[in-house]
């Protein structure tokens, strides 16, 4: 079995060829390549100021017989820096989870040990299968004023480091974002968009622990968001959208009474309803041809698009006025 040897970046490493005498003739190889004599002190291999590229398998052979006398795996790395730890309850009141990572790699294996203390009680943090750097705790008590203390220790062959977090039950409550956000135009309403969403599936009991929501929306062409806070329900109708402009919409969630807002949901896009423009184009072309032969121009009393029988409500009035103005403008141009 190969022996593994861990060394710090920048260290000087001396490898002995097993039980061979110092003055024995030997050959060292690393990762299938001979190591030249400049790195040898007798039969000892000397590696000065090692770096990550020198990790690998090292073999030592007796000079003439080429018997393998020693082998080792060299792993060059660094001790762990202070880990980054976060804890959050996205499934209140079931429990909370803690997750962690190292700010920079160590290049060698690390083990993580987490402890959770609540008052005098030590609680078990069950490691998740995936992701590996996470564990979860079930609440044994609710509404406690006693804080939780979570300590994470990371250890590798070159050293250890640790960090702690202290918090109370309410402070870490943060739901996942709302799901299935849908935004639709409202037929015959050029300034409305209907938005609906669902509670995050990770929130276990929205009936007993209801969420409130924050909706933000803006037309793509502007940077400024509009915000609406909604204390109940999972839908909202935007009534002040700019006609014909595409909107981007997002929703966030928070427990009604405790904790912080979720991240924003996935953004959805929608454009308010607009009336079909194809008749307008056809009528303008016909009228333009007619008006070039007159010296004064009067807009036609009615056009097909202003037919009251169309039953399109206030939108139709705006279209009629617009058509009239367009026609008048063409008339002026051709006088």
């Amino acid at each position: 079995d190969s022996h593994i040897q861990y060394e710090r970046v920048g260290a000087d490493v001396t490898m002995k060829c097993g039980s061979m005498d110092w003055d024995a003739a030997v050959t060292w190889m690393a990762n299938g390549t001979d190591i030249d004599d400049s790195h040898l002190n007798g039969s000892y291999l000397i590696l000065k100021n090692v770096d990550l590229t020198q990790s690998g398998q090292y073999f030592c052979y007796e000079g003439s017989s080429w018997h393998l006398k020693y082998q080792t795996i060299l792993r060059v790395g660094v001790p762990p820096k202070e880990p980054v730890l976060m804890c959050r309850s996205n499934n209140y009141p079931k429990g909370f989870y803690c997750s962690w990572h190292l700010p920079s790699p160590t290049y060698i294996p690390n083990t993580f040990n987490i402890s959770v203390i609540h008052g005098t009680r030590e609680m078990v943090c069950e490691k998740d299968v995936f992701p590996k750097n996470r564990c979860h705790i079930r609440y044994l008590q609710l509404f406690s004023t006693v804080k939780y203390k979570v300590t994470l220790t990371v250890t590798n062959a070159l050293g250890k480091n640790s960090t702690s977090l202290t918090f109370d039950e309410f402070a870490i409550v943060k739901p996942d974002p709302p799901e299935s956000v849908v935004a639709k135009p409202v037929p015959n309403n050029p300034r409305r968009l209907e938005v609906s969403w669902q509670n995050p599936s990770s929130w276990p009991d929205p009936e007993s622990f209801p969420l409130k929501f924050f909706l933000r929306y803006r037309p793509l062409i502007l940077d400024q968001w509009q915000h609406v806070e909604l204390s109940d329900g999972t839908s909202h109708t935007i009534t002040d959208a700019y006609a014909g402009k595409e909107y981007i919409i997002q929703v966030a969630a928070k427990d009604n009474d405790i904790g912080t807002w979720s991240d924003w949901s996935v953004a959805v896009h929608a454009t308010p309803w607009t009336e079909e423009p194809k008749h307008l184009t056809t009528e303008v072309q016909i009228t333009e041809t007619t008006s070039t032969s007159t010296s004064s121009f009067m807009p036609p009393p009615t056009t097909k698009i202003c037919d009251k029988g169309a039953g399109v409500g206030s939108g139709a009035v705006a279209v009629c006025w617009t058509a009239g103005l367009v026609l008048a403008a063409y008339g002026v141009l051709f006088i």
Partner: protein, 195 residues
């Protein structure tokens, strides 16, 4: 129990639960403001830890989800009756220490005391609707406050207010469970899928 099952009783139950939730949320908001005033006027560090205070009902509950509606009401009522006494004692101590120079603290304490009293009364109404006899308050005279140094008094007061803030949140949750299960549901468990 039959009275609790009538449609009018259900409506009244729902109404009392809804109003109770609003009262509890308002109370929590005011207690949070009171805590800020208290910490500032008493010259305390807001992050200071306070050990469990004797005589202060702890809001912490194990197996909270499994409690019956009646148990929730009884626990809440016992707690707010205790807070009524504790806050009255705190108010008296403030007046003795500061006299008329009570500043914001005295009126804020008095306002919360009023809300606590009102909430306790509200809970009694709910219990009566559940056709439960409202338990009598123990003794006619409140127990004498423990003899403490001024600093210990301040810490005790902090502990009282923090626990009251927790209770206000718990009460909102308890009343929602109550509303969910309807009147006369003392046999029905307040079991949420959550625990």
């Amino acid at each position: 129990m039959a009275a609790a099952d009538t449609p009018s009783a259900s409506l009244r139950h729902h109404d009392l639960c809804s109003r109770g939730i609003r009262l509890a949320r308002k109370m929590r908001s005011d207690v949070t403001d009171l805590l800020d005033i208290y910490v500032e006027q008493q010259g305390l560090d807001a992050s200071i830890s306070v050990a469990a205070v004797e005589g202060v009902p702890a809001a912490a509950a194990e197996r909270w989800a499994e409690q019956t509606g009646t148990q929730r009401l009884l626990d809440n009522l016992a707690a707010y009756r205790a807070f009524r006494v504790l806050l009255a004692q705190m108010l008296e101590e403030q007046r003795e220490q500061l006299g008329d120079a009570n500043g914001e603290l005295g009126p804020a304490l008095a306002a919360v005391l009023l809300q606590v009293s009102a909430f306790a009364y509200h809970l009694e109404e709910l219990l009566e609707l559940e056709s439960r006899r409202t338990p009598a308050e123990e003794g006619s005279e409140p127990p004498a406050p423990p003899r403490l140094s001024l600093f210990e008094q301040k810490l005790r007061g902090l502990g009282v207010l923090r626990e009251l803030a927790q209770w206000a949140v718990r009460s909102v949750r308890d009343l929602r469970q109550l509303a969910k299960h309807g009147p006369g549901s003392s046999a029905a468990l307040g079991l949420a899928d959550s625990q």
